[in-house]
Point group: C2
Chain length 268, copies 2
């Protein structure tokens, strides 16, 4: 990606740092102030092109921008650690929360793996939390996560599909609300349907389902439907799916459709 340095850090004694920063969904009103501070003080931004484009304009002032493709996380992590070890102030950019299916784990893996560079070990990786997509989507539709819940990535790029199936089965048997991340991609066109076969085997067709695409962004599109009427063709990598538990309810009060899970779980 393009770059323009605002300052030089050729001095190797300069105090570099590395912070992995969660943008939340991307709207500035949901970005924690500490994230804004680290973004403003960084000399370098490192991240996936799409997330780099979400950094609010007010926080850009000529930082060097290092964009990369979405599937190059570990190389990106090593590159960011090397920059920081050379004295740069590096903000690694994630959407949502950087600790949830995002860059924080990749940074710790790169820092601790067998090929570790000694100069990386001294870096204190700062994690700045953010509003993860499950919380953002829940806030926009009501309170579906008001009781016990779990979050599962449906991507099998880094884990076997068998563990995803196993976790779905247990989560459904436990009657958790489910937040499903990375539901589908061009490389994985069929797995979302397979996941929903498992879901339909455990849950009533009236179970509330939330499809949240680009939540809290200008192109936000949210649907609240019942399991029996869900159209999976509307989902892509930018969609988060919430699956209700047996107690989750849809209400159409005052013309607004809301979904929530009550605090009380009945004795059965």
């Amino acid at each position: 990606m393009t770059s323009s340095a605002s300052e030089s850090s050729d001095d190797p004694t300069a105090a570099g740092w590395i912070a992995v920063v969660g943008l939340g969904p991307g709207r500035p009103e949901w970005l924690v102030p500490e994230a804004a501070t680290y973004l403003a003080e960084a000399t370098d931004f490192v991240g996936y092109h799409t997330y780099l484009a979400m950094v609010p304009a007010a926080l850009r002032h000529g930082q060097v921008v290092h964009g990369s493709d979405n599937r190059e996380e570990i190389d990106r992590a090593r590159f960011a650690l090397q920059l920081a070890s050379e004295g740069r102030r590096v903000a690694v950019i994630s959407s949502g929360d950087p600790g949830v299916f995002a860059m924080a784990s990749a940074l710790f893996e790169a820092q601790t793996d067998d090929q570790v560079q000694p100069q990386w070990a001294a870096l204190d990786i700062i994690v700045v939390p953010g509003i993860t997509a499950a919380l953002a989507t829940a806030a926009r539709v009501g309170a579906p996560l008001g009781h016990d819940w779990c979050t599962i990535s449906l991507s099998d790029n880094l884990k076997p599909w068998s563990i995803i199936e196993k976790r779905l089965g247990h989560a459904l048997a436990a009657d958790f609300v489910l937040a499903l991340y990375n539901p589908v991609s061009r490389r994985r066109p069929t797995q979302l349907a397979a996941a929903f076969e498992i879901i339909r085997a455990h849950r009533d067709l009236s179970t509330p389902i939330v499809l949240g695409r680009d939540v809290a962004r200008p192109d936000e599109h949210i649907e609240i439907v019942e399991l029996g009427g869900v159209d999976l063709g509307r989902c892509d990598m930018r969609t988060v799916i919430l699956v209700g538990s047996s107690t989750t309810r849809i209400d159409d009060l005052g013309g607004r459709r809301r979904v929530f899970t009550p605090r009380t779980y009945p004795l059965t």
Copy 2:
């Protein structure tokens, strides 16, 4: 609690609103700007005494403060809805995220229950998300939630202990990372030990455990230990407990103890 009105809203045609606001852990650097906006514009604060005391001083300007005990959620929700229907601008205060084991569900329950007041149904309950304790604790220790995880409240005030046991068993069998909220209270002194008996039956004694008390607050105290060495006596209602999965790792790089769950899950 004490109160001092900064303005009158005796005019019943005034446009009242109700927003349930997450403070995050309480530090202003982790409070989303939208929360600050609603707090500043509110005429009334409603909440549990302890959380009301966490509202940053800069956002207080004479709002009427309605404090109550922690176990009076549904009465508090009704009171807040009534205030808003009378034209007040009401901020209902939660710590963390208001949609996670907090006040958002109580508000939707009160709005939709059989005793509903017609004037409450027209209110659009605004949910302002926050950094929930699991994300806050994770950010302070590394990236333990970097893979699939679940969150369970150990309180059986509103659900039977049998469903908690069932959920713990499934979550452990699924090899989720666990975030345990409300682990213990004076009224429930023995359940945490019962939960850990279930955990020890499923997980190796080297499993990383994080005990996070008052995370991201001035009195923060965090311990990262192995399951075999955990001291449950250090836990209270202000503690969040993270239980690692089979892949979660502790590393002591550069003298700092960090815990993270790698992105990759091995084929077994």
